[in-house]
């Protein structure tokens, strides 16, 4: 009975519990509610994935209204995988949040923070699960509005400008998306994705559908911070509270990317061959730019959160690059990297959260001698950094392997070489951090004691450990990603 309603529960649980946080008000109680919601979401996502793997895509009709009139929740392998990423990250960062939020907020209105967090989680999960293009917009706005608030809660006052910047850019993105959807609705009279796909296929070469496509792609590119539309991201990640940086870096852009995949492959799929191919050339070019430009900028950052933010822009470049190959291997790389990068970057941002908690700073100067003062945190940063480079036995290697493999299969030699070269830029910025942590003596002012609280170290190492585990055990990640990619490209298994 319950199992049949899992798709609805996935969204409803955090949505209902968000106001509950508001009502209880007490700091720890609100945290408890948020924790319960996050873990319940993870359990649901896991069950959904098992269901999908066992018996194929699930179609859930909200309120029993049949699509295309009613809203359909549609869970296939790709969306189940993204649900798992989002809820998994949420479940891991929540235990971390308790101490971190207490330290960075004091006592003022902490329950508001957890409310916003749960709303954001709701939005992100909703985007991944819905099969309705307009419903997707609604969830996009829920997640965006709540993340503006979350970012604005950062301790540094610059968080306000960062949030405002994101608000402006994010709104433009959402507006573009909704314009695109409006055009599609005018043209086809439907909002259900599957229905849209079949009706778009009936009118090949329609100019308004082409325009709608353009609006949607640009709108979503803004949300996923595709170079050069990434300008909101570095500030937002830098000044947001530690736990928010970790959560958003690991999930928000991935979910936007998911929406893009959904739109490009499920909705517009049939137009792939009809004059839209240059779009892939655009993706290819921008991805390469992102990989090199953002990595180069990352090398010169002294604030490590900002460095990781720029690194994220570069890593998004990798994901978009895989998308541009139009082959199964490339798309597999994209989807695998969504997962792997979420683990790596989430873990690293949490590690920086530990530094923030203990040292009150994430400036590279203040992390001097971290290898001695906070050995476990420093080791987490190194292990994560190796993942960003793509050293074997880390998850990053798996992503890079498929990414290069896809390029070779496509016959794009220069691209394969460029991927390797851009990895070397990652070596440069990761090693700057390593040298600061291990080769400079720690300042005298560091408080005594070993590392930091266990409640913060364990989540950090769970994510870093996952990034190492999925570097050798790829049955889940590559297996699901390959199936999802095959399904997206509409090829027989």
């Amino acid at each position: 009975m319950i199992a049949a309603h899992l798709p609805a529960l996935q969204v409803v649980v955090p949505l209902i519990l968000a106001p509950a946080c508001m009502l209880v008000r007490l700091r720890d109680a609100a945290w408890g509610v948020a924790l319960a919601a996050s873990w319940a979401s993870l359990a649901i996502a896991w069950l959904l994935l098992q269901q999908v793997l066992a018996s194929g895509p699930i179609s859930y009709h909200l309120g029993n209204w049949a699509p295309p009139i009613g809203i359909e929740y549609r869970v296939d392998e790709l969306s189940a995988f993204v649900l798992l990423i989002v809820s998994g990250i949420g479940a891991v960062v929540m235990p971390f949040a308790r101490e971190s939020v207490r330290a960075e907020f004091g006592t003022r209105r902490v329950y508001m923070f957890y409310t916003c967090y749960l709303l954001c989680l709701t939005g992100l999960l909703g985007i991944a699960i819905t099969g309705d293009a307009f419903n997707l917009f609604v969830f996009l706005e829920i997640s965006s509005l709540s993340s503006y608030v979350l970012i604005a809660m950062g301790r540094n006052r610059r968080a306000l400008t960062a949030s405002y910047q994101y608000l402006v850019m994010g709104t433009i993105g959402a507006t573009f998306y909704v314009i695109g959807i409006g055009l599609l609705y005018a043209e086809t009279g439907t909002l259900n994705m599957a229905d849209l796909a079949s009706r778009i296929a009936e009118q090949p070469g329609s100019r308004s559908i082409g325009v709608a496509f353009g609006f949607i792609v640009i709108g979503l590119s803004l949300k996923l911070a595709l170079f050069p539309l990434h300008l909101w991201l570095p500030n937002a990640y830098t000044y947001a509270p530690s736990m928010v940086s970790a959560f958003l870096a690991a999930t928000a852009t991935k979910v936007a990317l998911y929406a893009l995949l959904r739109m490009v492959y499920t909705v517009f799929e049939s137009d792939l061959t009809l004059g839209l191919v240059p779009m892939y050339a655009m993706f290819l070019g921008l991805a390469l730019f992102a990989m090199f430009a953002a990595s180069t900028v990352a090398i010169f950052q002294n604030n490590l959160k900002r460095m990781l933010a720029y690194s994220s822009v570069a890593q998004i470049g990798y994901m978009i690059l895989g998308l541009s190959y139009i082959n199964v291997t490339g798309l597999t790389a994209t989807i695998v990297h969504m997962f792997n990068h979420a683990m790596i970057k989430g873990g690293m941002f949490l590690a920086l959260g530990c530094c923030m908690y203990r040292l009150g700073s994430v400036h590279i100067r203040d992390l001097a001698g971290l290898g001695r003062t906070m050995p476990l945190t420093a080791a987490a940063l190194v292990a994560g950094g190796l993942g960003l480079i793509g050293v074997p036995l880390t998850a990053g290697f798996i992503s890079k392997w498929y990414l290069v493999l896809g390029a070779i299969e496509r016959g794009w030699w220069p691209v394969a070489v460029l991927i390797m070269l851009s990895s070397l830029l990652a070596v440069a910025y990761v090693w700057r951090m390593v040298e600061a942590m291990y080769f400079t003596p720690p300042p005298e002012t560091v408080p005594e004691g070993m590392d930091t609280r266990l409640s913060m170290l364990i989540p950090t190492w769970v994510l870093i450990g996952a990034s190492l585990y999925f570097g050798v055990q790829t049955e889940l990640t590559v297996g699901v990603a390959r199936d999802a990619a095959t399904a997206l490209l509409g090829m027989p298994r």
Binding site: I408, V427, E475, R482
Partner: protein
């Protein structure tokens, strides 16, 4: 122990060792005992595989499936067997040496040193027994990363700079070229398993093979082919035991071992022999071996000179493999072992001189041989073996390398090999000559001639014993160092008489007899 288990243990034992080394950080004696015990267990484990491999068995083990169709797999074959024996055997000796050196030198962070050392050995074993190119690549990178803390052990600006060069060159070549070549091979051949006869044989044509060969050869930065050899001299800032075992044996030999493996099992010697433009690799190797020898002559710092000598000797191995003849392959494989014993002896001596006399420059070593006769005698034996004179092991490997060149009808390389041997004489023997025959400079130390028997040269100088006060307190190196040197120089001699065994072991892969 079943051979499969032995394979798994050869990777696992050093890793288990690290745990106990770390646990005993507070008790140096216990910690060193653990290192020795680990090294001995590892050697015995590897040794237990030898009978099967000699008999023609190829025990293999799949550790886990990393990606669909691409497992992390181990497989024992003759070449890897030889390398594993050399590396694990010399680890025991080096551990003994380290005890004397690290304590005599008062080094910091000794626990980290021993831990990283054990991890590096585990990675080396992984390289030795890798069953496919992916496994080899994984352990290759693990070796690079685990030796980085050893190279930068002192943690000062100099070692930080050297670490950058070390990591920069090794990581960029392996990610930039080697990984690309591996992926390309996977796309072409559909497998990465090391297969006798080569997996690329008949699957790719001339230009592709040529390009792949280029990517592999310059991707394997550890083989130190010019112009990517710079990391090796840079790595000399490390404590001497690291230079000795890792940068004369494990790391660099892992490089050339990979080269030989790639040529034998990925390309196949026939594929290369039939290639029209395959000469370039031999020429690059020949260029490297002559040029590095000449550079070595200009270096006054003993360890740097030895580093360039290593660069040159590594190219012997690459040259032998690039000839793609049976005898050349045997020569290459043999030289991995022979050069290992010779060069590790030389580094042990360099370290002993550093510990006992605090001298690093050759020009300061005038007359030192009369104070440290044992050390300088060991240096002489090591030099002669590296030069390739009988009755020392190096003679055989050079003999087979020249036979290989002759077999390939490339007499010019025979000549180059001979010239290079002369150059070896020119840069190695002056050190010994200075030590024994040159008159000590007055500013360096006073009257000489108070040589002590090696046996009495205990670690921190038993104070009551009579020593010449005019020596400035210089005396023989710590006993542990001397034992290590004695073992390796004896090894150089023994290898001359037992070289036949190595030929027998390698014969199947070289297709001779």
């Amino acid at each position: 122990m079943s051979p499969e288990l032995a394979l798994a243990f050869s990777i696992g034992i050093p890793l288990i060792g690290t745990l106990f080394i770390a646990l005993n950080a507070q008790y140096p004696n216990l910690r060193e005992a653990v290192t020795l015990l680990t090294a001995s267990c590892l050697f015995l484990t590897v040794l237990s595989l030898l009978p099967q491999v000699s008999a023609g068995d190829r025990p293999s083990l799949v550790m886990l499936e990393m990606m669909p169709g691409l497992p992390l797999a181990l497989k024992a074959e003759p070449l890897g067997m030889l390398f594993a024996l050399v590396a694990s055997g010399l680890w025991i000796v080096t551990s003994i040496y380290s005890i004397g050196y690290m304590r005599g030198h008062g080094e910091q962070n000794q626990t980290r040193f021993y831990v990283c050392f054990a991890v590096a050995l585990s990675s080396t074993m992984g390289i030795c027994f890798a069953g496919n190119m992916l496994t080899l690549f994984v352990f290759y990178e693990a070796l690079t990363l685990s030796t980085y803390p050893l190279v930068t052990h002192h943690g000062d600006d100099e070692s930080r700079r050297a670490g950058r060069v070390y990591l920069g060159i090794l990581i960029s070549t392996s990610i930039g070229f080697l990984l690309l070549a591996t992926l390309w091979t996977w796309v072409i051949a559909g497998t990465l398993d090391f297969t006798p006869g080569g997996i690329l044989a008949g699957k790719a044509d001339g230009p592709v093979i040529g390009l792949l060969l280029f990517l592999y050869m310059f991707g394997i930065g550890k083989a130190a082919l010019m112009p990517i050899h710079r990391w090796l001299p840079a790595a000399m800032v490390a404590p001497t035991p690291v230079s000795a075992l890792l940068h004369a044996v494990a790391v660099v030999k892992a490089g050339v071992f990979t080269v030989v493996k790639v040529i034998v099992y990925i390309f196949g010697t026939d594929t290369l022999a039939n290639m029209t433009q395959d000469d370039w690799l031999s020429w690059v190797a020949a260029f490297t071996l002559v040029t590095a020898s000449i550079i070595a002559m200009t270096k006054d710092n003993l360890k740097t000179r030895l580093a360039y000598s290593t660069v040159s000797q590594l190219s012997y191995i690459i040259l032998g493999a690039s000839l793609a003849t049976g005898l050349g392959i045997v020569g290459s494989g043999m030289h991995i072992a022979m050069h290992a014993f010779g060069k590790i002896t030389l580094f042990f001596c360099a370290g002993a001189i550093m510990v006992a006399a605090h001298r690093t420059e050759i020009s300061q070593m005038d007359g030192l041989g009369r104070i440290m006769p044992f050390t300088f005698f060991a240096f002489l034996i090591g030099s002669l073996s590296v030069i390739g004179l009988p009755p020392l092991g190096g003679a055989w490997s050079k003999w087979y390398l020249m036979l290989g060149a002759a077999e390939a009808d490339k007499i010019v390389f025979v000549v180059i090999l001979m010239i290079s041997s002369l150059l070896n004489v020119a840069y190695l023997l002056p050190v010994v000559a200075r030590g024994f025959f040159a008159r000590a400079r007055p500013d360096a130390h006073g009257a000489e001639g108070h040589a002590h028997a090696p046996a009495s040269a205990g670690a921190a100088a038993t104070p009551g014993e009579h020593r010449g006060h005019a020596e400035g307190g210089i005396h023989e190196a710590p006993a542990c160092c001397l034992i290590a040197m004695a073992v390796t120089s004896a090894g150089c001699v023994l290898l001359f008489f037992y070289a036949e065994r190595i030929v027998d072991l390698l014969a199947p892969i070289a297709g001779i007899r």
